[in-house]
Symmetry: C2
Subunit: 223 residues, 2 copies
Amino acid sequence: MESTQLLDILGNENRRKILQLLASRPCYVGEITERIGLGAKAVLGHLDMLEQNGMIRADTNERRRKYYQITENLKLEVFVSPYSYTVETSTVQQHPSGDGVEETSPVQKDDAKAVDALKELNRKLFELESGRRELAKQQRNIEGEMTDVMAQCIDWVHEVAHDYLEADILMTVIREPQNRRSLSMSLGLAEYFIEEQISSLIERGVMYERQINNRQLLTLIDE
Amino acid sequence: MESTQLLDILGNENRRKILQLLASRPCYVGEITERIGLGAKAVLGHLDMLEQNGMIRADTNERRRKYYQITENLKLEVFVSPYSYTVETSTVQQHPSGDGVEETSPVQKDDAKAVDALKELNRKLFELESGRRELAKQQRNIEGEMTDVMAQCIDWVHEVAHDYLEADILMTVIREPQNRRSLSMSLGLAEYFIEEQISSLIERGVMYERQINNRQLLTLIDE
């Protein structure tokens, strides 16, 4: 799914509530309207939108009652700072049958066994969660460093650029090498409008236009 | 900032465009309307909202022209799967003056020096970015494992729970230990409505109510 689609979906409080509810378990429409405290028509509208985007799926049970469940494993990351705005959506892969799955799969109907298995899984979940938090902390540190480097870049860009447009071009290319088309789209300006600045930056040896992974890209980094 | 606030902000395409633009550099209102291709009134509405939420700040230059810039370093992470819905917002700390900052700070007006400094910073940025990507990959792996463990939990919860409400209570507490109030809020149900199930789960030895970090919490994990 596109990040913009996902942000549009998550921008609505009631859709967030519906997803939160479905993340606890598959639900019938009746349950959803009752829990969300919203009319059936509005709920159905949201469910339709979520279904069309492929986030949820409708199934019917043996008594032909329709229920909804989440289909995707999506991770969305947004980072906003004075020097960067990045949005990334990725699909998280489940490991269909890892180690320890067999021994705890529910074949036994013994309640005590089930309770023990559940507690064991919960402990495992907590260990994973603390690992996840540690990685998230490291990531925030790197992002802090990146923001700092970007701040320094801005200072230097103002020394190097001859006008605002050159500064914008440089900052965009510093974030990620661009071809002329992606650069013009990212700046929201027609290609012919930035040609002169690109040529001047290349002539002055500030920027290069070269092959990276078989694409002709503008970059500040030489080979 | 609250995650829900941030999601509301990012749920609008034009606000995303404004933030993206301001992330490249501070801008005057005129520049913003021109780039976004939206009427001044609509743009001012969005800018007001962003300012009230503390995401951007207005300043005036020496000629009293008003410009806007992003003030926050925010990281938003959303994870949606059939078994979990988590939203986290964190503030990324900048390192005001790390190593290497001094040597590259713009005191020299020599263009060649500035270009070299910029290229060096860009290389550094790329190294940080590849580190960030690596951590993100590890994190997605952990999240995949967590999703897998949650899937197993759901199977066992259905063995242990006597009704849907008990299943919902267990799944919520497995994700994170809860007090009675937070549990009732998270389920969207009044406290008295879930008392019976809580008592029964505790009596049956499935769930505990105990002190964790000075808070009385419901949990499946014993000491």
